[in-house]
Symmetry: C4
Subunit: 191 residues, 4 copies
């Protein structure tokens, strides 16, 4: 089984998730700049979520490039990842509309956390299939960013009950950590 | 005619169906965990439907891998399948919002039943085109899961008028039966 | 320029159109079969529109299979076709929700008419590019169904002001005429 | 890294954006032609936005055809472009529903401006990667339309505070300037 349709389907789902989020940002009743003000937090959450889906698309792209064969486990690990990512529009909408209140900010962090766990499971299934000495095995065994992210998401969830704005800073920090492309992956792929 | 565009179009439709369902789960007014409670049944139904669309994508993927040529009949059998799958968001939404009342649970089962019939028709059209001794012919002639599913969906519909929660257990049971990859298909494909 | 991305983009748009229409059919408030009754006309319109988008996908598929090169004119003729098809969800929704009243039925016919004109323009651009003796040229020069459809859509629009239900019968009739695959195209392609 | 998935993902996002815009045009309550009247400005804005997304898809298509290798910078430049394009449905909806009032018309122009800047950044990243003497480098170094567009969008934003209808004429003018295919690109690609 090749990766072709797995990529096509995942691209489709990710493309829809990233675009559907903007639907949560409905045009206001008034027609002045003033009327846009209450939408600002929704917009900022949308930007953050857009960056996250972009990061997942990027990492998914990199991961599958190093994959040679797909099995049933990987298909379901991929669907599990897509499931958690599909909750982004909901979490984005709820957090944005409630101006970063504590509980929505915790739920947003929980969705980020579960998506990260799902990605870790998928990497694990791929390594199991390809072998520890494969490209994927070599790259991800050294990757500390995945575990750091998981820890920071948990920290963000806990912090959200006291200072939700700090959680947002943490979520944004993790995102920035991932935007920088991983030189190890690109290097290992080139070898 | 090759399977390329048939797969691309079906992937697109399935990707949209699976993602659009989550739109039925709109962010609640309040901003407390309490406010999420009425959404829980919608969420659980969404999980069930997500698994079902995942199963159909998987089976569709397997079926088309064994197909060499596509004709007009198969195109329309595929569109028929996509039609019934496109009713998933509606059935999911109705059942989730009405907390598993009897009639919505029956309709949900009816959509599952019709989608299964549509898949059976598609398999039949493919076998007619490829021949009984083709890979597809060999695999699906022995497949008892399709008929068992049809029977269980019917049972779920009948049961829904007395004990809707049992219908849900049945629908979930059928889903679990399909998540396990069919070793016969993978074996026959490898031969 | 090859047809690859033109097909991918068109498949995406058609997949979204066909799936988005079902969103117009929102789950009713009540939870009895009775509550589904007012949705029935919406459902029937959805079925009709689903068949039409299926037909366009099919014909688009056939047309592009016979195309070897794409130019700027064809790209824009394709976008023009997609534009009119993108009005299907609106026309479907309006006609379904108003239980086949006269004006919505006329508008529905007008959208069908404009989409058919757009397809005709695209065929013309393709023939201009490929030459009259190309596969496409040979097939479509004999195709009377396109002109018959245009005439019937116009008839349907006129009739809708007196007897909208007859317009629906006409629209359905045209659809059935197109579901049957055109043996001439399949034959010419095989030659 | 090849351009395959970058194109597939972008096609998906653009296909969704172009189709989702039409959702902002919801079917009116009444069932007469009269009831369609208030929707007319929404429809006209939709047409304009459809043309713009079509232009971006076209230009994106042309740009990526001239690209041989993709790096991390280009991936993010592409996501940045898709982000601004994803705001089209919102801007379209707001301007259409408010019948071309001043502020929504300015915001619409601002989104056009930012998308054009994003496209310019992407072209810059591609040229940096491919070299100034590459096809892309040669074509875009002479392209004056990009800078003219940026200037005209700015003019449109300023004008919107005095005479919004003139801004619309400007936005439409820029669109028409881009619909004509650029002979230089097609020529350079043929060489």
């Amino acid at each position: 089984m090749t990766t072709g349709r797995l990529e096509a389907f995942s691209d489709g789902v990710l493309a829809i998730i990233i675009t559907i989020m903007v639907l949560g940002m409905s045009a206001p009743e008034g027609y002045t700049f003033e009327a846009l003000k209450p939408i600002l937090p929704v917009f900022l959450t949308y930007v953050l979520s857009f960056i996250y889906v972009g990061i997942y698309w990027n990492n998914h792209h990199h991961l599958l490039q190093a994959v040679n064969k797909v099995n049933g486990k990987i298909l379901w690990a991929n669907l599990n990842l897509l499931f958690w990512l599909s909750l982004f529009p909901f979490a984005t909408d709820w957090m944005g509309k409630n101006h970063f209140e504590d509980n929505p900010t915790a739920i947003y962090g929980a969705v980020l956390f579960m998506a990260a766990i799902a990605f870790k499971i998928m990497v694990y299934c791929v390594i199991q299939n390809e072998g520890e000495n494969s490209n994927v095995g070599k790259v991800y065994s050294k990757d500390k960013r995945m575990n750091i992210s998981l820890f920071l998401y948990l920290a963000g969830i806990v912090v959200s009950f006291f200072l939700p704005i700090l959680s947002l800073v943490i979520y944004l920090g993790v995102a920035l950590m991932w935007i920088v492309p991983d030189p190890r992956i690109e290097k290992t792929l080139k070898e």
